[in-house]
């Protein structure tokens, strides 16, 4: 085990800012990509549903 206490784990031998700055930013970026992908899928489905509905109305108006 490398760490005797939480304090030691967080300070990373004086390099805490650099080490956690790297890991936290990486985690935030990957999490943001996952959220963006989920939102994109929902957005695509919503816009396609709207698009088909508009098209159907258009067809019915013509008929």
């Amino acid at each position: 085990m490398n760490w005797q206490s939480w304090q030691e784990f967080l300070t990373m031998g004086g390099y805490g800012l650099y080490v956690w700055g790297s890991y936290v930013v990486t985690l935030v970026i990957l999490a943001a990509e996952i959220v963006a992908l989920v939102m994109r899928r929902r957005g695509v489905i919503a816009s396609l549903t709207k698009y088909y509905a508009a098209r159907r109305r258009n067809h019915e108006a013509k008929a």
């Binding site: 031998g13 970026i29 990509e33 695509v44 396609l48 088909y52």
Partner: protein, 250 residues
Amino acid sequence: MSTSKRFSWFYFSSPQTFYPLAGRLQPWFAALAVLLCAAGLYISFFVAPTDAQQGEAYRIIFIHVPAAWMSMFIYLVMGFWCGVGLVFNTRLSSMWATALAPTGALFTFIALWTGALWGKPTWGTWWVWDARLTSELILLFLYIGFMALQAAIDDQRRADKAGAVLALVGVINIPIIYFSVQWWSTLHQGASVSMKSAPSMAATMLIGMLIMALGFWMYSIAAALARVRCVILERERHTEWVMAEMGERT
């Protein structure tokens, strides 16, 4: 269209057949990514010992090196699909290229960011115009340029062609990044893992780095599969199968 029922390697090269397959595979790659990254993080922080020279600051390399590998590898895969798309005019190849670019750009940014945070305590500077750093920055601009160019052209086929040409020209940058530390010995050190010689690092450090790299690999596949599914729906919205998929009667 072939009417034969026999198995063909091209069967999954159609968006219609690939879409459900991608949906089935995606959760497995996502689960593998979570497991491998968890194991990799555990090794990075609790198993790998403190580095004699760099102290704890070296723990940044457990994400820096895998992210840098992914940034280059994703570009090669993207370039491959761009080439296939240009030559064979296959729709799915261009969709793959479009789906891979954002994830590649993110890993390039992560490599640059973690590199800066590693460089400050060990080199004494956030950034230098070193050959490796500069060519990696150019890689980020190539990804961004590819996405911007594709987004700027309305006609999808022309957008794919223009993007593919840009991406293929940019492939020349990958060997430049990879060999930059040998060709110009500026500041960035040489490879820590080599096929020819024993790795210049402790076994636990190496294993941690490789497991993180595998985790990033699985993550990239999962993210690209999720994105390619969105791209397929957007681009194939006029087809009957997408209408059926969305529960629309034609």
